[in-house]
Amino acid sequence: MASSPLVDPHATQAHHRALAHQFDSLDQQKESSTLGMWLFLVTEIMFFGGLFTAYVIYRTLYPQAFALASHTLNVPLGGANTAILIGSSLTMVLAIWAAQVNWRKGIALFLLATIALGATFLGIKSVEYREKFETHHVPGPSFHFVPESEHVKVTDPQLERHASIFFSLYFIMTGLHALHMIIGIGILAVLTVLAWKGKYDSEYHNPLEMTGLYWHFVDIVWIFLFPLLYLLGAHAR
C-alpha cells in the first residue's frame, strides 16, 4: 500500500502517533496519501485501459462474432454481481462514515459486510467460469463455439476464431478484475482486525479512505465490464 502511515518508531516529537517523520502535520500527510492513491488509480485506469483498447478495436473489427459470443454469457448472474458489488461499495463507504462518527465497532462490521459481499461476487464469478469450461468456451485446444443464432446455422470457422478473441478478452478482463478484488479483500481483512482493535476513529482513519478509493475503483471497472461483456449481445439472434 502506497500510503499506510504506520506508526514511526523514530518519531520523538509530540506528534500524533500516526504522523510519519517526513511530514509536518496530519493534514499534509493525508493530502499526500490521497494524491498518491489517486495517482495509483490513474495507473490502474491505464492498466485496464490497455485491455479496453484491445476490446474496442476487436469489437469494431468483428461486431457479429462479439455479439454472438457475448450472448452466451449469463446476464442474470452478471447483473446480480453488479448489484452485489455496488452494495459492497455502499458498505465500504459506510465503514468510513462509521469512523467519522466515531462508531468503532461499526467500522469493523461494515468492513466485514464488504468482505462478505466481495466474496459472494467471487463465488458467483467462479460459477460462471465453471459454466464456461463445461461449454468449451475457454480459448485453447478444446475451444468450441457454435453460436445460438437463427441466421448463422453452420459452424463458421472464421466466426469461431473471432469469438475466441472475445472469450480471451473476457477471461483476462474479468480475471484481472477478480484478482484486484482478491487483493482488496486481503487488505480489508487486515483493516477489519485493526478496526476491531480500535485503531481508527474520527481523527484518524486514512487507511480506510485509501482502501475505499481502491475498492470503489474496482467497482467502476466492473460497471464498464458488465455492459461491454454481458449486454452487447443481449438482442443478438
Binding site: 495517482l39 490513474v42 485501459g49 479496453f52 481523527e203 475505499g212
Partner: protein, 101 residues
Amino acid sequence: MAEHVTSRKVYFLVFAALLALTLATVLVAEVDLGVFNDVAALTIAVTKALLVLLFFMHVRHSTRMTALTAVAGFFWLALLIGLTMADYASRGQILPYVAGK
C-alpha cells in the same frame, strides 16, 4: 482535520440510483436499437461511474488536484483508444485519385 462528513441518506440515495441504472442498462440492452444500444449502455455506465466517483470516492469534496488527476487518467485512456482507433478507422481507404480512378 477539516473533513466533510456526508450523511448516510446521500449514500443510500446514490446506492438506489446505481441499482436503478443497472436495471435500466439490462432492460435497454434487450431492445434492438442498433448503434444506440452502445450509446445507451455507455451513457449509463459513465453516469454510474460518475456517481461512484463523486459521492463514494468523495471527489465532490476533494481538492482540485485530485479531480484533475482523475480527469487526466480518463483523458489519457481516451488518447490511447482514440489514436489507435484513428488507424483502424482509416485503414485500407484510398483516395480515388490515388487508386487511379
